[in-house]
Symmetry: C2
Subunit: 372 residues, 2 copies
């Protein structure tokens, strides 16, 4: 994913994802589709959500005031960071797009145990923390079903049943050669995505799964399985939207806990957050003189793309203004970082204050699945 | 398994299983071991249960008055037949051998769905019917935990965790090349067998699993997994006993519903049962004259081995007498079948009467897991 180019006002920057799209049939979100959405999220406006499968089904459900599901999940292995915020916001966006939308939120605590040796009691606490963030980000607790993988018989039952319907060839074609356990995890994810359509969850309905581009194999497997089990469950093939894979603060394309300077947590102290922002990777030139002359390169800049365009600057005009100021060399990285920090620190403070109000509700939500 | 020879008073007839025993380390149940059991079941006396792994652990638990578990399961795909009765009796035997024994009984309803397309609501009814037989056969409902696979999160959780710890090589070495779904079923069986040792089920304890000889791969896989996860769960490697693979009434070594004349159901009408017994495969000679001269061959006879020695004749002296009468040509097959039918019909009648008394308790047991 290295070197992709982002242009917040066009579709040109998705060209590095073209192969993915052409090869696997992910479609761009055209202006026509955008015009049919009741509200166009900044991530869609800026083509950070760059592609989809069957988004039309969701738009039709919205227009016809029919039920649809929004599905996502997290592995509760640590506090929410910017990556978690991205998926959470997409989830909340689709949940709020129609009063007939209903969210399904999976907490993959078994995965956290199997991959990271996090005991279920510990991942329970992490989940509470994560749900607090989700609520502070705007999740509607009355229209979401929150469940832990370790307690959700319905999903494991589906995974078991699907395990009888898949072959090695099918799994290898999609994922390449992978360990046995990872294949089974993939079947559980298929169970997660299709469980909103089970009779006990209200039966077949369009389902939208907002994911990162790297998650497409799960979507393809699930659509394949949905097709295979159509006669048993009457599944509607799930829809998906795809966002670009974003870099960490240091400009690395793969986030890793081994590089803590790269990850901004939503619950991080302001001091620590400030240090990370001030050290973030930018599109600045070698010298101030050069930058004044040539202008900066916002297309390469983490402050610009990952922080402001993706997360913290809602207003398109302001973003455009900053972009051009940078390109013209009218603002240098130090000043820009101060400006960004003002916006980000305000957001972090507000978010952390909001969190305080949602801690009890998070406990209730985890215990009761839905708060009505 | 064709052509194994049975000698109810020696160990010679296990010689066809010698390869299995030598290759995989199943040990014979020696006279010394037998002498340490508080009561020696007819199946052990007659070496129909011919081998074991780690039976010593169970004997030690009995002698030291320590807890141990007995584990078995059924796939609820139809009414109890002689094969189900065999495993059920072994289960009940080990459950009653010590007041410190506790049974775990799995109802593999997900398997019944995946393999036989039996809906969970249907397998629920079949399970009730099967539990009624178990109770009529002597199951102590106060010292057993009955669970349905489709509801037992503990077991599916373990299977999921184990799926991360196994490799294709390991599974292929044990089972040969098998479809993906069957491998996963094997992991669920490992979960079943090790679940009595989970903290929520009272922690590590010796566990005895009475199985047919063909089930040994599951035992080996489970012992291998128990070893791999020892540091996490402190598992004690499970013990097992092995019974011979018995033939159906027509002398076929593989029971199949496609050959209904071969299967005797415990709930079968007496008329139908009688017809099947009268048509059963025997060790008779071509003519009555020849048989009087040469004697019959009880070692080949379903009436003798499968019905009387295995299931319906408790008294060793009576069995021995019949054996020698047959060998000496003093009793022909027609007469012998009448004699056997008298015993079997009495048993069936009594069993079916007992069943009536246990129907309500079966419902309670399935709902409440244990009746105290």
């Amino acid at each position: 994913m290295e070197g992709f180019r982002i242009d917040p006002w066009g579709t040109s920057y998705i060209k590095d994802y073209k192969r993915l799209m052409e090869e696997f049939g992910i479609k761009p979100i055209t202006d026509e589709l955008k015009s049919q959405l009741p509200f166009v999220h900044r991530l869609i406006r800026r083509n950070i959500i760059f592609g989809h499968r069957d988004l039309e089904k969701i738009i039709a459900a919205i227009n016809e005031k029919k039920e649809y599901a929004v599905m996502t999940g997290i592995k509760p292995s640590g506090p929410f960071h910017l990556g978690s915020k991205l998926t959470a916001e997409e989830f909340i966006y689709f949940q709020k797009l129609s009063p007939k939308a209903f969210g399904f939120f999976a907490i993959a605590d078994l995965e956290a145990y199997a991959d990271n040796r996090i005991p279920l009691s510990e991942s329970y606490k992490i989940s509470l923390d994560n749900l607090t963030d989700l609520l502070a980000l705007g999740l509607d607790p009355r229209r979401v079903y929150v469940y832990r993988q370790s307690e959700e018989m319905k999903v494991l039952r589906l995974a078991f049943i699907f395990s009888r319907g898949v072959t090695y060839n099918m799994l290898e074609a999609i994922y390449g050669e992978k360990p046995f356990g990872l294949y089974f995890s993939a079947l559980i994810q298929a169970g997660d995505i299709l469980s909103p359509q089970l009779p006990e969850n209200g039966g077949p309905k369009p389902t939208i799964v907002p994911v990162g581009a790297d998650q497409d194999p799960h979507i393809r497997l699930t659509r394949d399985i949905a097709q295979r089990y159509k006669s048993d469950y009457n599944f509607i093939l799930p829809s998906a939207t795809y966002h670009l894979l974003l870099r960490d603060l240091t400009g690395q394309t793969k986030m890793s806990k081994r590089n803590p300077m790269g990850i901004l947590y939503l619950t991080e102290s302001l001091e620590s957050a400030r240090t990370k922002i001030m050290n973030a990777f930018t599109g600045g030139r070698a010298t101030a003189k050069e930058q004044r002359k040539l202008g900066g390169e916002p297309e390469k800049c983490v402050i610009y793309i990952e922080l402001l365009a993706t997360h913290f600057m809602e207003n398109d005009d302001e973003l455009s203004e900053l972009y051009h100021k940078c390109r013209r060399g009218e603002i240098l990285c130090g000043e820009c970082k101060m400006y960004a920090w003002e916006i980000i620190s305000r957001w972090l403070k507000e978010h952390q204050e909001k969190r305080e109000k949602f801690k009890d509700l998070a406990i209730k939500l985890l215990e009761e699945h839905t708060i009505s």
